[in-house]
């Protein structure tokens, strides 16, 4: 992680994210229409309008990574939002509706419209609905059928119908004419960016790995709110090129890597530095995360879904189940198996995340099946991805160390 602060990609990431935020704030000041969207909402389609796009989930992840989650969660809880609700939501609500907004990361510019999407979770709809009440603005819901199996034609059609309806809603609210060529351009950019992203992730396949999953956690941020832009393509190109160069020159984040692990769940944002340093001391490298691998895939696949450039709206509908939370046990097992083989994984860490039920409720069965069918050692640790108060470092590492011992023992056998 810290290494990336000094890399070209690390420097570029901070610069680009900051510039994007400043531009958005300025645009809103100038009176541009602002929309808040869930992370899976296809922002490439929104690029067909001249509007400002804010992504609260990204904002919450950044707040947690900067150590602000405790304070912001407490603000939401003081307003009556239960501690059992997702910490992303509590952070965001705490900062937007709480007594004083944070100055370290100022809140997103206030929206004129909310667009949520139940692809990754249905909780997001309820979270956005809080703002519908509080700000008295419309809330548009994109409904994505859950993927127990590959997306059916009727599902793709249903999603496309909603996209067209969302476009019509935006046309009437903004008074702008939708520009499909801008969407085509945005889709080309996103696809190009994804190819570089996958090239970057593939660096984890080598032994020792050219990256850690922590690098991918940090670097995925612009994919969430800058999809469709040329800046994102350029950034991911820098990232992948530089990573490959470092590999060629024999620079590895953990040259003495002895254990190759897979992480299943959202990144523990408040622990990135601490956890990666502690793992390095144990010669354990998390080389792959299900969270960062799924970008741009179709459900149940470890690879990006091919785009032929002909129909961006239909393509975006087809990949609406890409987040790993948007599909069920059978498909998730298929991906886990594929990643375990591809990255030559020695053990799996299931982060059981109280805040994110949709990611976590199913891990117990998944763990049992992986152990029984692939004979791979697994461990479950309690983590909250954004609320630092719900994480206990000592407990987590007792279990991770037990996993490493288990891997050692299975090697000897």
């Amino acid at each position: 992680m810290s290494k990336f602060q000094k890399t070209r990609a690390g420097i570029n990431l901070s610069k680009m994210m900051k510039a994007n935020y400043m531009q958005q704030a300025e645009d809103v000041k100038q009176g541009k229409f602002a929309v808040w969207v869930g992370i899976i909402v296809p922002i490439e389609i929104l690029r067909g309008f001249d509007i400002v796009i804010g992504v609260p989930e990204n904002y919450s992840a950044m707040s947690s990574a900067k150590g602000l989650s405790r304070e912001q969660c407490e603000k939401a809880e003081a307003m009556g939002y239960s501690m059992d609700l997702c910490s992303y939501a509590r952070i965001d609500i705490g900062n937007n509706l709480g007594p004083e907004p944070d100055t370290a990361i100022p809140p997103l510019p206030k929206p004129d419209l909310l667009i949520s999407n139940n692809s990754n979770c249905t909780l997001l709809l309820k979270w956005f609905d809080v703002y519908r009440h509080e700000y008295n603005i419309p809330h548009y819901i994109l409904d994505i059928p859950f993927g127990y199996e590959a997306q059916k034609k009727q599902d793709t059609q249903y999603i496309c119908d909603q996209f067209h309806d969302m476009i019509a809603t935006l046309e009437s609210m903004t008074g702008q004419k939708f520009n499909i060529s801008k969407v085509e351009e945005a889709m080309d950019n996103s696809y190009e960016a994804l190819k570089h992203w996958k090239r970057f992730l593939r660096a984890g396949e080598s032994k020792p790995a050219g990256i850690t999953a922590f690098d991918s956690f940090v670097q995925m941020a612009p994919y969430i709110n800058m999809r469709g832009t040329k800046d994102l393509v350029d950034h991911f190109k820098i990232l992948a090129d530089e990573t490959e160069e470092r590999q060629r020159s024999g620079i590895f984040p953990m040259p003495d890597e002895s254990f190759r692990l897979l992480w299943d769940n959202i990144a523990p944002w408040h622990q990135l530095r601490k956890m990666s340093a502690r793992l390095a001391g144990l010669k354990a490298n998390i080389v792959c995360g299900t969270y960062t691998n799924c970008l741009g895939n179709s459900e149940g696949s470890a690879d990006i879904y091919p785009y032929n450039g002909s129909s961006p709206i239909e393509f975006l509908a087809r990949i609406q189940n890409f987040p790993i939370c948007a599909y069920g046990l059978d498909l998730r097992y298929k991906v886990l198996k594929e990643l375990i083989e591809r990255y030559q994984i020695d053990g799996v860490v299931f982060a059981s995340n109280r805040s994110c039920k949709v990611y976590s409720i199913m891990q117990m069965d998944q763990e049992r099946k992986l152990r029984d069918e692939l004979g791979i050692p697994c461990v479950s640790i309690d983590v909250d991805h954004a609320d630092v108060r719900k994480y206990n470092d000592a407990n987590a590492f007792v279990r991770i160390e037990a996993l490493l011992e288990n891997i050692e023992a299975s090697r000897k056998n």
Binding site: R132, P145, F146, Y148, Q154, L329, R354, V358, I361, D365
Partner: protein, 368 residues
């Protein structure tokens, strides 16, 4: 939970296949019309807290409703059910059909598991309606193949008539409970019993109670309150309410008023029937297309029934309910109505004493 399972096992005595359904608003009429017996796996009390089987599959931070369904299906009912049906509602339930499928397979058992996506866009109109039609047709085909049965409009019309009758009778009984002509706790028990009874038996049960003469032991001076939540208050909680001088006169409980407040017209067309059913359903936190109308409906109920207090009975870990509570609390208080939030789990008796003081204090506030 054993009683609940025993009731369902009792249904197996007939030649009809028994389908366990969750969450609360499945297409019961459709199953019935195709010669199947649907039961709603919901709110099963678990006084012993025995969730050993469920604990192998579902973390303890899932709500008690989801954990109890898992326990029931994988233990007491693993030999009983002929099928399971589930539609999307919340994140806890999302993976449950496959968790149950895998769990039953581990036991060497396989039953058909039907899943239906209920549009969170409007299921009564436009593309939401089209999509709902397609999903209902798919479900019909899957049922026909799984059980060698056939769908036809006439029996569907008859089933919708029966369910309409059952809901009308439930509403009638509810009105009596609101007027204290039948104890509210008895009314709650009856609605719970309905989950595991065939619709014909439900009608008999309701008619029986409607013909009985009951008197309520709650004095008229008791303060009228509205209760809200996913599951009804437990018997222990009900005792605390009446002991503290509170009288429930109306509910916004998912398994009660929310389930029966809207009664669709009978119809031979499943598409028409279910689009009407879901579009006009009493707003529920789990029906995502209805979020915008929930507060208005609750305020209307409050005004109509002149309650003085609103008690939210939160099911621990239920995000769908908890997100709206702070705004709802504010809106209710702005109307001059007192608000109390309690948190519980199905079968939870441990926290009763801790709640007693709060309920008594709340009652005093209303009395003053």
């Amino acid at each position: 939970m054993e009683d609940f399972a025993a009731e369902i096992k009792g249904l197996k005595n007939s030649t009809k296949k028994v389908i366990g359904c969750f969450p609360l608003y499945p297409p019961l009429e459709l199953f019935h019309s195709m010669g199947l017996t649907p039961v709603v796996l919901w709110g099963m009390p678990d006084p012993e807290g025995q969730l050993a089987e469920s604990d192998q599959h579902v973390q303890n931070y899932a709500c008690s409703v989801g954990r109890n369904i898992t326990q029931l299906v994988l233990s007491d009912l693993s030999d009983t059910l002929d099928g399971l049906f589930m539609y999307n509602a919340c994140d806890t339930l999302r993976n449950l059909p496959e968790i149950l499928t895998w769990g039953l397979e581990e036991k060497g058992k396989a039953i058909p598991v039907f899943k239906m996506h209920l549009p969170a866009s409007n299921p009564g109109d436009g593309f939401g309606r089209d999509y709902l039609d397609k999903r209902i047709s798919m479900l019909i085909q899957e049922l026909e193949m799984a059980y060698d049965v056939t769908f036809s409009e006439k029996p569907f019309l008859e089933s919708t008539e029966l369910y309409r009758k059952m809901r009308l009778l439930t509403r009638e009984l509810e009105k009596k409970a609101q007027k204290a002509q039948i104890p509210f706790d008895l009314f709650i028990n009856i609605t719970q019993e309905q989950h595991t009874a065939s619709v014909e038996d439900q009608i008999r049960l309701l008619e029986h109670h409607l013909n009985e003469q009951y008197s309520s032991d709650v004095p008229d001076s008791a303060s009228p309150v509205m209760v809200s939540g996913i599951t009804p208050p437990s018997p222990e909680l009900l005792k605390l309410f009446s002991g503290a001088g509170l009288r429930i006169v109306v509910d916004d409980i998912a398994a009660m008023h929310r389930s029966n407040a809207y009664i669709p017209e009978a119809s031979g067309s499943p598409g028409d029937y279910y689009s009407d059913f879901f579009q006009n359903h009493f707003p529920c936190t789990t029906l995502l297309h209805q979020q915008h109308s929930r507060f208005d409906v609750i305020m209307k109920l409050i005004e109509e029934t002149s309650v003085r207090g609103f008690i939210f009975i939160g099911t621990k870990f239920c995000e769908h309910e908890y997100f709206e509570i702070p705004s709802l609390e504010r809106a209710i208080k702005e109307k001059g109505i007192h608000f109390l939030a309690l948190e519980t789990s199905v079968g939870d008796t441990d926290n009763i004493n801790a709640m007693r003081t709060r309920i008594e204090a709340f009652s005093e506030l209303l009395a003053n």
